[in-house]
């Protein structure tokens, strides 16, 4: 067995040293009824690399690869081009096979990277401090709500209707058990989000208001009034971002007064991966909130010789020290995804990120204009970054999406899939466009969409 270095000779010698006559002598504490004789039933026996590879490739071949077709799916996960050097770096054994840097003397590589990552995220979000990552955007969203309740000592969170419905689900699931109260809503099909309505829902028991930017329908609006309204009631503004590339073109949430900014970092370095592993980003605008943050933090310090070095710090917030009083139960997070994000961001830099954002926006504008010319299609958004909503003139978007897939086009995400059973939303389709989209892809989508709409009943 190619991963097991012990030979039978080794095993015998080691048993002799231990004073055991057989391996099962080491399992004497397992009650006899529970001990299995022989290999467990229901699994195949061991197999060669070649055989395993054949099996896995056959499974992979059953999926339609995004890069092989015109592709417009977004809704919280975006397909961007990841430079080849990112993967080279994350495959280095020193990064890939390291543990959480609890022994900082021999983990400065990971630690310095995390310090740089935290700085990149904080700056992108317009915040003071970012942590070393969480699982993904949706769990980061919940952690933000939980942190807001700790900070404000209030138990009510108001969610924007245009927060990603899966994020809202995660928050509601968790709040059910923590006893927090979540006020949520469905998105209204309007060209601009209804901030007045949202503001009206904030009261003096509100710990935070949670808003997505760009929102689930792709809309972007100035968050400043929202921040002011929340702060006026003593609540925090939590801003959720699922497309970091947008912040290369748009003002940062921190600038507009967000207190906690969280998001999904998958767009940079990580890839689609069928939903995971992804990368939760978490930052706070005001450094005074640092000690209420969840997750790991890397800080600068010096070593015994006075050299600059980095360590995990403020671990008194964490479960392995605080146990039941920790700010979060999180332990392993998304270290390697953070590295991938950071390498990609380093390759982009200020200039590249802005160019990337501009290119995404340019192509998205092209696509919106083109789709608007498809009979029966109406573009909902007034403003957007690289994703927008189109209404299909009374046709059910879920059926259209499936029809498009049969035509070899992955045409977007229907609001019907995100909000099943909500009739008011069933004609909406989210269309995401990135730098990987070609003008031919857009033409193809427009043509197939036109055909699909024609052939689909109301």
């Amino acid at each position: 067995m190619r991963y097991l270095p012990l030979t039978d000779t080794d095993r015998q010698a080691m048993l002799a040293k231990i004073g055991a006559s057989a391996i099962d002598d080491l399992f004497v504490d397992v009650p006899e009824v529970a001990r299995l004789d022989g290999p467990i039933q229901g699994l195949p026996m061991h197999a060669s690399e070649m055989a395993v590879e054949r099996h896995m490739k056959a499974l992979a071949a059953k999926n339609l690869v995004a890069g092989d077709v015109p592709f417009f799916i977004g809704a919280g996960a975006y397909r961007h081009h990841v430079p080849a050097s990112v993967d080279t770096i994350i495959q280095r054994g020193e990064f890939l096979t390291a543990y959480t840097p609890y022994q900082p003397e021999i983990a400065q590589g990971t630690l310095q990277m995390l310090f740089e990552f935290q700085t990149q995220v904080a700056r992108l979000y317009g915040c003071a401090v970012a942590n070393a990552s969480l699982y993904d955007g949706s769990t980061a969203c919940w952690e933000a709500v939980a942190m807001a309740t700790r900070v404000t000592k209030r138990k009510r969170a108001v969610l924007s209707g245009a927060l990603h419905p899966h994020y809202a689900q995660v928050v509601k699931t968790m709040a059910h058990f923590t006893g927090d109260e979540i006020a949520d809503a469905l998105p209204a099909i309007t060209a601009e989000p209804d901030f007045d309505g949202l503001i009206a829902r904030i009261d003096d028991q509100t710990a935070c208001v949670v808003v997505q930017y760009p929102d689930i329908l792709g809309r972007i609006s100035d968050l400043t009034p929202l921040a002011e309204a929340a702060h006026a009631k003593g609540a925090l503004l939590v801003v959720v971002n699922t497309e970091p590339v947008a912040l290369g073109a748009c003002r940062s949430p921190g600038e507009m007064g967000a207190d906690i900014v969280v998001g999904e970092g998958q767009s940079l370095g990580v890839g689609l991966q069928f939903g995971g592993p992804y990368l939760g980003l978490f930052a706070v605008r005001d450094p005074k909130h640092v000690r209420q943050m969840p997750g790991r933090l890397c800080g600068e310090t010096t070593d015994a010789e006075g050299k600059r070095g980095f360590v995990l710090t403020l671990s008194t917030r964490e479960q392995h020290i605080r146990r039941e009083k920790a700010t979060s139960n999180i332990c392993t997070n998304s270290g390697l995804c953070a590295l991938a994000f950071s390498v990609h961001m380093t390759l982009l830099g200020e200039t590249g990120l802005r160019q990337l954002a501009a290119e995404n926006h340019r192509l998205a504008c092209l696509a919106a204009d083109r789709l608007a010319r498809v009979p029966g299609v109406e573009v909902l958004n007034r403003a957007f970054f690289n994703e927008f909503t189109v209404m299909l003139g009374g046709k059910p978007a879920r059926a259209i999406v499936r029809d498009l897939a049969d035509r070899g086009v992955l045409g977007g995400v229907s609001l019907g899939r995100l909000y099943p059973g909500v009739e008011a939303l069933e004609h909406g389709l989210l269309v995401a466009v990135t730098e990987t989209t070609t003008e031919e892809d857009i033409e193809r989508l427009a043509a197939e969409l036109e055909a699909a709409i024609k052939e689909t009943a109301q």
Partner: protein, 484 residues
């Protein structure tokens, strides 16, 4: 050469990608929100980037470089085939919201892996979406709470042994429970009598790690489980140490109701310097109905589909959703590759070799190093030692740092809390006897220095990229981002 910070070498006007220039005059539809001020990011060209991170990487220690006996973390070899398979475009380049007809192979991976996790644990159901071990714990505890709630039986307390990993009490508390400690016996196991005495209508359940964090198998687990069930509670088993028994014992046969499985431990997915992990949770018949969404089912025609919020009855009384999408697909492909590689016979051998290696270390060290539970019988996949008899104020920390100078990553230190100056050594099955013998020689040398009161050890490490770091200073005045 010291590697500067990215922000010291990067420049705002440099980029390592070639993208079209921004046409500042092009019309935008950003609703007046175009960013004007600088973001404050810096860039490097590709040669500089590769060099920056290559140099940084060389300040790290990884399994690829040497023995990494970090107890309870199961730092086993990460097979490269796993990495290759996870990168197949058919797995890596598919969207979680793609039409399900277009991702049947991916859904099959989730389903197949889940099925085999059930097979290996002897449990009827599995929740695949938890993103790491602690997230899996949460999943299990929430299922327990949902089950109690469903029958209107609100309970407040979760019992946790004092030797437990910190995530256990943190998770229970996060889920709204009060945590009470259960003491350990002198031989390093749960005090069954004390536990039974505490059971009652307010106790929702217990969280027990098995094999436990002292490296011992909880022989009375079945008895505990039966008592908990009799008292109307549920049994959560922390599966962090599943590597010791995979293929040898099925937790389902011990009365477990929920157990998370760290794919990054037992199933060899890389730790990556702190994640990503993956923590599927196997569930008993009693808890299965409360499993979180989404999950994968196979229809009569053999097609796989996701059960989500919309499926009404088919969802069951689910406690909800733990994450936006379906879990750590990238880790599923790696773990499935690993299970296929090892098979039923290989996984059994994994457990046996892991336990053999640990016992070999235990018995090779106990003549000079205090093994508090050495007399409790064989250990499982890790050997636990304490700092008794160290001279001159030398501590477990000093031994750990001394091992760094010998070229090793230290063992886990000061955990579990039940042993003074604990040192938890987990060799895993992927180390050769030669590597272990070499480690034992080095470990004995350092321990002898600690017993002999060698003051020089207090300054160790001497030969690492950094000497001891000022952690207190770091926490007192936190500097968490580059300023400049």
């Amino acid at each position: 050469l010291e590697e500067p910070l990215l922000f010291e070498i990067g420049r705002a006007d440099v980029t390592g990608v070639d993208l079209p220039e921004v046409d500042a005059s092009a019309p935008t539809r950003l609703g007046g929100l175009a960013r004007s001020a600088a973001i404050g990011l810096v860039g490097l060209t590709e040669p500089e980037t590769v060099r920056h991170y290559t140099r940084l990487s060389r300040q790290n220690y990884g399994i690829d470089l040497g023995f990494f006996p970090l107890g309870s973390c199961t730092m086993k070899h990460n097979p490269r085939l796993n990495e290759k398979m996870a990168r197949l475009p058919g797995f890596a380049d598919i969207h979680p919201l793609a039409p399900q007809s277009s991702v049947q192979g991916a859904l099959e991976v989730v389903h197949q892996l889940g099925h085999w996790l059930c097979t290996l644990t002897g449990m009827p159901a599995v929740a695949m979406s938890p993103k790491a071990g602690a997230h899996g714990e949460l999943c299990g505890i929430l299922a327990i709470r949902a089950a109690h709630e469903a029958r209107g039986d609100a309970r407040e307390v979760v019992l946790v042994p004092e030797s437990a990993h910190g995530t256990n009490p943190a998770t229970a508390a996060f889920a709204g429970y009060r945590v009470e400690d259960i003491p350990a016996t002198p031989e390093g196991r749960v005090d069954v009598a004390a536990l039974k005495a505490r059971l009652g209508p307010d106790v929702a359940g217990v969280m027990i790690t098995n094999p436990n964090t002292c490296g011992l198998f909880e022989k009375d687990f079945r008895e505990i489980a039966d008592a908990v069930h009799a008292a109307g509670g549920y049994v959560y088993c922390d599966g962090a140490n599943f590597n010791a028994i995979v293929g040898k014992v099925r937790p389902g046969d011990l009365g477990v109701d929920a157990m998370h499985i760290n794919l990054h431990k037992t199933f060899s997915t890389p730790h990556g310097g702190g994640g990503p992990g993956s923590g599927p949770v196997v569930l008993s018949e009693a808890l299965a109905p409360y499993a979180p969404l989404p999950f994968v089912r196979k229809d009569d025609a053999g097609a796989f589909y996701l059960v989500e919020e919309e499926h009404g009855d088919e969802c069951g009384p689910t406690f909800g959703r733990m994450t936006a999408f379906h879990g750590q697909m990238g880790m599923f492909t790696r773990a499935l590759t690993y299970i296929l590689s090892h098979g039923a016979d290989g996984l059994k051998q994994v457990a046996e070799d892991a336990v053999l290696n640990a016992n070999y270390i235990l018995r090779s060290m106990e003549d000079i190093l205090h093994a508090p539970f050495g007399a409790s019988g064989p250990c499982m996949h890790e050997a636990l030692f304490g700092d008794k008899d160290f001279a001159n104020g030398l501590s477990t920390l000093d031994v750990a740092k001394g091992l760094i100078d010998e070229g090793y990553h230290p063992m886990t230190v000061y955990f579990p809390l039940v042993v003074h100056g604990a040192m938890l050594v987990e060799p895993t099955e992927t180390e050769s006897k030669a590597a272990i013998d070499q480690f034992i020689t080095a470990f004995r040398a350092v321990v002898e220095r600690a017993l002999g009161g060698d003051e020089a050890l207090k300054q160790a490490p001497y030969y690492s990229p950094r000497r001891r770091l000022d952690e207190t200073g770091a926490a007192r005045k936190p500097k968490l981002a580059y300023e400049g």
